[in-house]
């Protein structure tokens, strides 16, 4: 598994800062495969698409 903000392995290093930042950011990396996702932010939400693992919304 990978950090969906920085794309590094979630088990390696401290991702506390990433988790805090994610409160005000959409994910950028697929947590399953580390691919950069296509992310569209709109005024009331966001959509993040991984070509392999599909769509996340928030």
């Amino acid at each position: 598994m990978f950090c969906d903000r920085c794309g590094l392995p979630a088990a390696d290093g401290d991702h506390t800062g990433c988790a805090a930042a994610r409160a005000m950011e959409p994910p950028r990396f697929c947590a399953r495969c580390r691919r950069r996702m296509k992310v569209q932010v709109v005024p009331t939400g966001w959509t993040a698409t991984c070509v392999e693992h599909g769509v996340r919304t928030g």
Binding site: M24, F29, V42
Partner: protein, 331 residues
């Protein structure tokens, strides 16, 4: 009361004239102890020359990422190792975003694209998108598409775009430290054409790019010379992978001082909270800014980052007894 606040009260509050650069610098150098009095003066100026209403706006990115320019703060530049990928918003989603924005009571919806300037494809997408929004949603449409040719300015007017955003970002003397792929003067030229077209000019920038306090004063004075209808005030939100990704955020009191200083430089403009306020000021600082010169907000999310829920800002405005500017009041 300090001398500069006395002078500001006489010149800005009483006469409605903005402060000159040297006085703006004095404002920016006021000690923390003077901040409450400064914010009260800026608020009084805003109330006298703009009124209590707050203009609410939503923004959306029509074309995200892959920009050929190197604005050092921007995660959408294709020249940096940013995780932001290029993506286009389709027209139905654009209309839906406008509809959601209008549902908050907002009177403004700004369509933004990460480009040096629009190409034919983008202008065609704009024409279709603006027409679809105007047919389905009761909201004013603004645009931010980078540098324009005269023909593109004319096309946007023809589409019904009423306001054009093009930020100078920082003062003229610091700009080359922030952008090297185009000049401050090129941006100014687009703003000149926009003004002459009859569209409203929206022009602001970002504080915290590494500029000195003198350059912050220079920037406020240069914006005042431009005399824009609206000034969006951003605070740097350092983005991973950009050259400014490791810069510290602006300290809250400095941000509030800057808000008040920009209000005293431009007593009649729409001074809008834009990106970065959440991390720079937090909830309490957001309130202080609205009581210190701000009279417009971007609600909801930004282009690549998230904002406070629109409901949080609308509740705050209600609490402060600041009515949301209605669409009818914008004509």
């Amino acid at each position: 009361m300090s001398d500069i606040l006395d002078r500001a009260r006489a010149r800005v509050l009483d006469e409605g004239s903005g402060l000159a650069e040297a006085d703006i610098l004095e404002i920016l150098r006021l000690p923390d102890e003077a901040l409450p009095e400064l914010l009260q003066l800026a608020h009084d100026v805003r109330m006298k020359w703009c009124g209590p209403e707050v203009e609410v706006e939503g923004i959306v990115s029509l074309k995200t990422g892959g920009c050929p320019e190197d604005c050092h703060f921007c995660s959408q530049s294709g020249l940096f190792a940013s995780p932001v990928r290029a993506v286009w918003l389709d027209i139905p989603s654009l209309v839906e975003a406008a509809r959601q924005t209008a549902a908050t009571g907002a009177s403004e919806f700004c369509i933004v694209a990460a480009v040096r300037g629009p190409d034919k494809r983008l202008m065609e997408q704009m024409r279709a998108g603006v027409a679809a929004i105007r047919e389905a949603v009761d909201i004013q449409v603004a645009a931010s598409l980078g540098m324009l040719s005269q023909e593109q300015v004319d096309d946007l007017v023809d589409m019904g775009v009423h306001r054009y955003n093009h930020n100078l970002e920082t003062c003229r003397s610091y700009f080359p430290n922030v952008v090297t792929t185009h000049s401050w003067e090129e941006r100014w030229e687009t703003l000149r054409m926009v003004r002459e077209s009859g569209m409203e000019v929206c022009c602001g920038g970002i504080l915290g790019l590494g500029e000195t306090v003198e350059q912050r004063a220079e920037f406020a004075a240069q914006l005042a010379e431009l005399d824009p209808h609206e000034v969006p005030l951003n605070f740097l939100n350092p983005r991973p992978g950009t050259p400014l990704g490791d810069r510290p955020v602006v300290e809250g009191k400095d941000a509030l001082r800057a808000i008040a200083a920009f209000r005293l430089a431009m007593p009649r403009t729409i001074l809008r909270y834009a990106g970065g306020r959440e991390i720079t000021l937090g909830d309490l600082g957001t309130r202080d800014g609205l009581l210190g010169g701000i009279n417009a907000v971007i609600v909801g999310n930004y282009l690549t980052t998230l904002g406070r829920p629109a409901t949080a800002d609308l509740e705050l405005l209600a609490d402060l007894k600041m009515p949301v500017k209605s669409l009818s009041a914008t004509f």
